[in-house]
């Protein structure tokens, strides 16, 4: 009987605590990816400003509501614009940023191919 009780207790405690740990991890990940707009060079995670603290509460609430990471980013993007995200998406203002490394890589590859492989 005692072991059954323990098993039941573990059964009830284990999944919730595990979930909470996962939530906390997700919250930290999200707040590290959000820029504190009124601070200089700090993420929401690092900052202790009024703005950042309110944002952390919102992130908590949204996770509780069951929103995914991307949905939470989308929510903040709607409110404050792309600038709040540290990792900007591909759009007309950022396509050069995304494509330039690829172009340079291809150009470098072409030069190497021409000068070494074709020569041989």
């Amino acid at each position: 009987m005692k072991t059954l009780k323990i098993i039941i207790i573990i059964f009830f405690i284990y999944p919730t605590s595990n979930l909470k740990a996962e939530d906390l991890e997700m919250k930290n990940k999200i707040t590290k990816n959000l820029r504190c707009l009124i601070c200089q060079g700090q993420s929401v995670y690092d900052s202790d400003s009024e703005f950042a603290n309110s944002l952390k509460i919102i992130v908590d609430k949204k996770i509780d509501e069951g929103l995914s990471e991307d949905q939470i980013y989308e929510f903040f993007k709607n409110k404050y614009g792309e600038w709040i995200l540290y990792d900007p998406g591909l759009n007309k203002n950022t396509y050069i940023l995304w494509l330039l490394p690829l172009l340079i890589f291809l150009a470098g590859g072409a030069i190497i191919y021409n000068s070494f492989i074709v020569k041989k």
């Binding site: 707009l37 009024e50 603290n53 309110s54 509460i57 409110k79 172009l103 150009a107 021409n114």
Partner: protein, 172 residues
């Protein structure tokens, strides 16, 4: 042939770099929030400052009316400065001034309104600062001009005489 490819690629590389920097030069690197936004007002739940009754967006904002939502706090020094301007704007009957009391102590907030006067038609509380985030606000003071449930203008920081004139022109 090899020289030609090399010179073309060097030329291409420098022109791309030039375009990137030239584009970057024109844009300011200081973050400037978008102030001229035509966004729907967000849906939120709040508590009335005086009665403590639960409110939501539709209880406060009605269609075909002009509202000025002012985020204020008793601990915010610039709010004190802009307060007389709000009182003077309140004489204009075309506009309804709504107050959002941001992360404040109720007793101090009540004292603030008693001391300086109450320009607000309605005041609601935002104890955690989360409603301000729903509105896309950065802090206190901040003011939104709303018509037909749409945000017409957003003023970050304390109001001044020029802004009050602009608001009067807009609501004419």
């Amino acid at each position: 042939m090899r020289n030609k490819i090399l010179s073309i690629s060097i030329f291409l590389f420098f022109s791309i770099v030039f375009i990137v920097f030239f584009k970057g030069l024109k844009e300011t690197n200081i973050y400037t929030p978008d102030l001229d936004i035509k966004k729907e007002i967000p849906f939120f739940h709040a508590k009335d400052f005086y009665t403590g009754k639960k409110l939501n967006t539709s209880d406060i904002f009605k269609l075909d009316q002009t509202y000025l939502l002012n985020i204020w706090s008793s601990w915010c020094v610039p709010c004190r400065k802009e307060h007389p301007l709000l009182l003077s704007l309140n004489e204009n009957k075309k506009i309804n001034i709504i107050g959002m009391n941001y992360k404040d102590n109720k007793i101090k907030a009540e004292k603030f309104l008693k001391e300086l006067g109450n320009p607000y038609k309605r005041v609601f509380e935002d104890l955690e600062g989360t409603i301000a985030i729903e509105w896309g606000a950065y802090g206190v003071p901040e003011t939104f001009l709303i018509y037909n449930n749409k945000i017409i203008r957003k003023y970050i920081g304390p109001l001044n005489l020029n802004i009050i004139e602009e608001i009067k022109l807009l609501i004419k």
